[in-house]
């Protein structure tokens, strides 16, 4: 057996062990909890709901809807007088933007248009952390409730804090604790790996 065949067999054994350990034990839940940020929900000056994407035809993807609903819930409970809805249009459909779809739904949910701010141009979390604070600066907002996926929260909180805001985490889910089936745990492991890589990339690129 050649050197490379031995390497590939070793990777195969490692992959199978990883599959069983990550899928059938709580290792991925522990890793998820290490990456996630604990919620701290208090009164602030604005609720910022980060983008997650649109399906073709203008429907919010599941993750976008989950974040939006969390933002609406916080607004309705009176945690802030202002809600910022983020999200650009799809690359293949210039309208509507995710922010506009969310704004229309927010109005249906009873949030006055005057309490809604939209950010419709940012492509990435880093761009959102530049453009949303610029919008909020005009209204003298310094303290926000940030709404995003639990695993995306650490990186998002760091870039928004770097932009000069005081950020309280309001995650839209609790995947690190709620993932119990093997499929959910494998997915959670993938998200932890992706988010850890993204944090490393943000550090190398000088965004953090």
């Amino acid at each position: 057996m050649s050197y490379w065949q031995r390497i590939i067999r070793g990777i195969g054994i490692l992959t199978l062990i990883l599959f069983f350990v990550l899928g059938l034990t709580p290792v991925s839940n522990v890793a998820g909890r290490a990456v996630a940020v604990a919620p701290r929900v208090e009164s602030t000056e604005a609720i910022v709901v980060l983008a997650a994407g649109l399906f073709r035809g203008g429907q919010l993807v599941d993750e976008s809807m989950r974040r939006f609903m969390k933002g609406v819930e916080l607004y309705k409970k009176g945690f802030a007088p202002l809600i910022v809805l983020s999200g650009r249009a799809r690359g293949d459909e210039p309208v509507p933007t995710e922010a506009e779809v969310r704004a229309q739904l927010a109005e249906v949910a009873g949030i006055p248009r005057a309490a809604i701010l939209k950010e419709e141009t940012a492509n990435t979390t880093q761009e959102e952390s530049i453009r949303i604070p610029a919008l909020l600066k005009e209204r003298n907002v310094k303290r926000i409730l940030l709404v995003t996926e639990s695993l995306h929260m650490r990186r998002s909180k760091m870039v928004f804090e770097r932009a000069g805001l005081q950020v309280l985490a309001a995650p839209s889910d609790d995947f690190p604790n709620s993932a119990r089936s093997a499929g959910d745990r494998i997915w959670l492991s993938m998200r932890v790996a992706m988010e850890s890589t993204a944090i490393l990339y943000y550090r190398l690129a000088g965004y953090l």
Binding site: Q5, I7, I8, R9, G10, I11, G12, I13, L14, T15, L16, G23, L24, G91, N123, S181, A182, M190, M194, A198
Partner: protein, 100 residues
Amino acid sequence: MTEVFVLLLVTITTAIAYWATRRTHSARSPSVRAAIRALVDFVGASAVFFIFNVAVGVTVILLIRTFTQLFIPLYGLASLVLAVLSAAQGFVFHQWWRHD
């Protein structure tokens, strides 16, 4: 609980298939070990292709973002299709390397 059921199910169907194969093909233990080794090699080759695909994909996307106005999200690489195609690449190249 679902996982225990799934593992039990796979164990039972494996045992049935093993028993049926021994009866009809006079399969010997060394052949089973060789088949398991082939599975491990296939998984290894697929994992290598998956990592290779993701690495090349990230590089290409970052180059496109840097040198053009186009925006392609990196999240597109977390795709089931990529995992399945990587497995197909792993299978084909593993077979090729085995017979070379």
